[in-house]
């Protein structure tokens, strides 16, 4: 065992930390709370910040230098997540493009596709959203019904996608659509589709937090060019699976780093309202601190496996359940220990300046649902890790 970062990783962290100290001039939480910032202004702030990050060479960290990357590994990617979370930096708006589409293009795309799309993706000139989920299909990607019909050399897309994060501000979408209705897995193709065209209707989907960061998108004959098919026809499901697998462990240290800030504010709040000495309050906070270190310990285990070039084992299956359930407990504790102040809406008077507990609390209820609900995660553990029989 050796959980130390090596010297180059330490140097990378130092470089990034110094950069963030200079460039995060105002914490993101405060931007969100500033009534002068409407939804569009916030997107612009994020876009600007992504551009700065890219100019400084902090995006696509594990991509080849040739494609704007830095040729680093999973550890540095996680150092990035950790440091930006600690700094409360604006979140990169193109995180789905960079996290999923970038690797898809690098591994499966054509030279021309890479040249056309990667630079503008990194510079946030073009924002990408993801068109995998469909209403009614839940977590079953192979069950998608959105179809691409040939139209000359190109295709016309018909169907619907939901939960398209950042859809309302995106320029392009990467879409899984069916090119063969018969072949359940092999009949799906991976398309790049511009959103600003006829036949695309992107509707914002409002969440329980009151925001509308998601969209649902309706395709009614939208054009998808043959040149914008990633990989071969019928390879879509396989590419999607490969690419989703890259995500495993890619943000392992993100959530525990965010929790560090939440927990610090919780401690501060209890100190302010004079309850930090109470044994029940102490026990509650201590359990959350312990949970968070368990999440971090598990993240190190995942990361070490990834860094060794191996596929992560059971530890990766725990990750999402661990952090999403922790997030629920943590923000419930905030409501209980900080009283109704923690329930104040994002821009309400007297809301806690450092941390938006109301948003976090509500969003923690989504965490156990999106990207494979806790129920689906447990099904997967039962089947793949414990190898339990099916009925």
């Amino acid at each position: 065992m050796d959980l130390r970062y090596d010297e180059s990783q330490q140097a990378f962290r130092a470089e990034l930390r110094a950069w963030l100290a200079d460039h995060v001039t105002r914490p993101w939480t405060q931007e969100l709370r500033d009534p002068a910032n409407d939804a569009d202004a916030l997107v612009e702030l994020r876009r600007d910040f992504q551009r700065e990050l890219n100019d400084a060479g902090f995006l696509g960290l594990d991509w080849p230098v040739e494609w704007g990357g830095r040729g680093l590994g999973p550890v540095e990617k996680n150092i990035f997540q950790e440091e930006t979370a600690w700094a409360d930096a604006p979140p990169v708006p193109n995180f789905l493009g960079i996290g999923l589409l970038g690797p898809a293009l690098i591994h499966h795309g054509s030279e021309e596709q890479r040249r056309r799309f990667i630079p503008k993706m990194l510079s946030a000139e073009e924002i990408w959203c993801q068109g995998f989920s469909e209403p009614g299909a839940g977590s079953d990607l192979a069950g998608i019904r959105c179809r691409a019909e040939p139209d000359g050399d190109d295709f016309r897309i018909h169907g619907q996608k939901v939960w398209t994060t950042f859809g309302p501000w995106a320029d392009w979408i990467f879409v899984l659509a069916r090119t063969d209705p018969e072949d359940r897995y092999g009949g799906i193709t991976f398309f790049l589709v511009p959103l600003h065209q006829d036949g695309v209707d992107m509707r914002p989907l409002r969440q329980i937090t009151g925001e509308a960061e998601f969209g649902e998108v309706f395709f009614d004959g939208a054009l998808a060019r043959r040149a914008h098919v990633v990989g071969k026809l019928g390879e879509g499901w396989q590419i999607a699976m490969t690419v989703l697998a890259y995500e495993r462990g890619a943000t392992a240290l993100l959530e525990p780093a965010k929790n560090d800030r939440y927990l610090k504010d919780l401690v501060t709040g209890c100190r302010e309202n004079g309850t930090l000495g109470r044994p029940d309050v102490r026990e509650r906070i201590a359990r959350l601190l312990a949970d968070n270190e368990v999440i971090r310990a598990n993240a190190y285990r995942t990361l070490a496996t990834l860094a060794a070039g191996r596929a992560p084992g059971p530890e990766a299956s725990l990750e999402k359940l661990l952090w999403t359930e922790h997030a629920r407990r943590q923000s419930e504790a905030a409501f209980d220990l900080l009283g109704p102040q923690a329930q104040l809406a994002t821009r309400a008077h007297h809301a806690r300046p450092e941390m938006d507990w109301a948003y976090e609390h509500l969003w923690s209820r989504a965490g156990t649902i999106y990207s494979g609900s806790s129920e689906i995660q447990r099904n997967i553990i039962a089947k793949r890790v414990l190898a339990l029989p099916t009925r």
Binding site: R206, G210, G339, Q341
Partner: protein, 360 residues
């Protein structure tokens, strides 16, 4: 030994359900919460006053309905089911407070409040966290009230506040210049809170000791009432969950047929029905002036708080993706539950009262 509602209260409950389903279905309530300035329907509130709903707890010889806490719980259970927005409960509590105040002024305001002509609410909290000091910092001197009250329910719309001060309870009519209220907007749209700075004429209603005694009784009604609202909130949440999971298909079957979801809903039922038993037992004990009433009200509030946290949270969870959309209803109930759990005596307060009432 009889647990069911008697005919009078059963009919009251049924009539309330029909009234609310007709006049204030959830879609209507949502429109009011999200779009109206007041956050509730003044016309419907006038109708409720007219129908005698504000006098449920008053004896018949005092012009009330005389249905007691059991009747009030039955009505509030129904209001919980539709996430009824507005200051109904706060009005009841103000009326319960005014009833305990001697003097003509209190009686005048009581009559006007009962008739629905004015909105009177209690103004007590002073901190943001609700961890209150033993004595209010708001002062009453020379018939003027000076201080600052927080978490005043529907304070911005109130015609008068019942304010706790260092000298006991006082009544402050809305000044001509208005309240200068700052909204304290929480996640729950059915309830509007305000912070109100006070430097206005007001009149003493009760001295400090009498205030404590009166408010201890009023708080008991408040805790029981919030528990009854939570019962309705949970009950309806479970119905939504059942309906959605029976309808929704996945892997070729209704998701309600999956055992993990079935067991979750069984646990939701257990919590909901456990709360029902606790709420009505406490309501009955209060009306019967049972020696255990204070303990049992505390039990009901604590149970309702813990249970609703689970039931309303799992309602979101079992709805899957649509559960965290604004469009679907689970979040409305979830957010209501958060207010009702923390105000009207938090779970922590309720548990401490239970211990005290148990001599521990």
């Amino acid at each position: 030994m009889q647990f069911d509602l008697d005919d009078e209260r059963a009919q009251l409950k049924q009539a309330t359900r029909e009234l609310l389903e007709g006049e204030s279905p959830l879609a209507e309530s949502r429109a009011l919460m999200e779009q109206s300035a007041e956050g509730f329907s003044k016309a419907l509130y006038a109708q409720l006053a007219e129908l005698g709903y504000l006098g449920l707890l008053l004896p018949e010889d005092a012009g009330g309905a005389g249905v007691g806490h059991v009747g009030l719980a039955a009505v509030l259970e129904e209001m919980g089911r539709v996430a009824f927005p507005g200051p109904f409960l706060d009005q009841i509590l103000a009326i319960e407070t005014l009833r305990r105040c001697p003097g003509d002024e209190a009686r005048r305001w009581l009559e006007r409040a009962l008739g629905g002509d004015v909105l009177v609410v209690l103004a007590r909290a002073e901190t943001l966290s609700l961890d209150e000091p033993a004595q209010p910092e708001t002062r009453l001197a020379d018939a003027r009230i000076v201080g600052r009250k927080r978490w005043v329910p529907f304070g911005a719309q109130a015609d008068a506040l019942l304010v706790t001060t260092d000298q006991g309870l006082a009544l402050v009519p809305r000044p001509d210049s208005g309240w200068n209220a700052t909204p304290l907007e929480t996640i729950d749209l059915a309830q509007r809170f305000a912070e109100i700075p006070l430097a206005a004429p007001g009149s003493a209603l009760l001295g400090p000791a009498a205030t404590d005694a009166a408010l201890a009784e009023v708080d008991r009604t408040g805790a029981l009432a919030a528990a009854a609202l939570l019962l309705g909130v949970m009950e309806r949440s479970l119905e939504l969950t059942r309906d959605y999971t029976v309808e929704r298909q996945a892997f070729g079957a209704p998701i309600a047929s999956f055992q993990a979801l079935q067991h979750r809903m069984a646990d939701m039922l257990i919590q909901t029905e456990g709360t029902r038993a606790a709420v009505y037992r406490a309501a009955w004990a209060t009306d019967a002036e049972d020696a255990d009433a204070a303990r049992l009200v505390a039990v009901a509030k604590a149970q309702a708080g813990d249970a609703s946290r689970f039931v309303c949270g799992e309602t979101i969870q079992l709805h899957g993706g649509v559960g965290y959309t604004w469009e679907y209803d689970p979040h409305i109930y979830y957010k209501r539950a958060k207010t009702l759990e923390q105000f009207y005596g938090s779970t922590r307060d309720a548990l401490e009262q239970l211990l005290e009432a148990s001599g521990i």
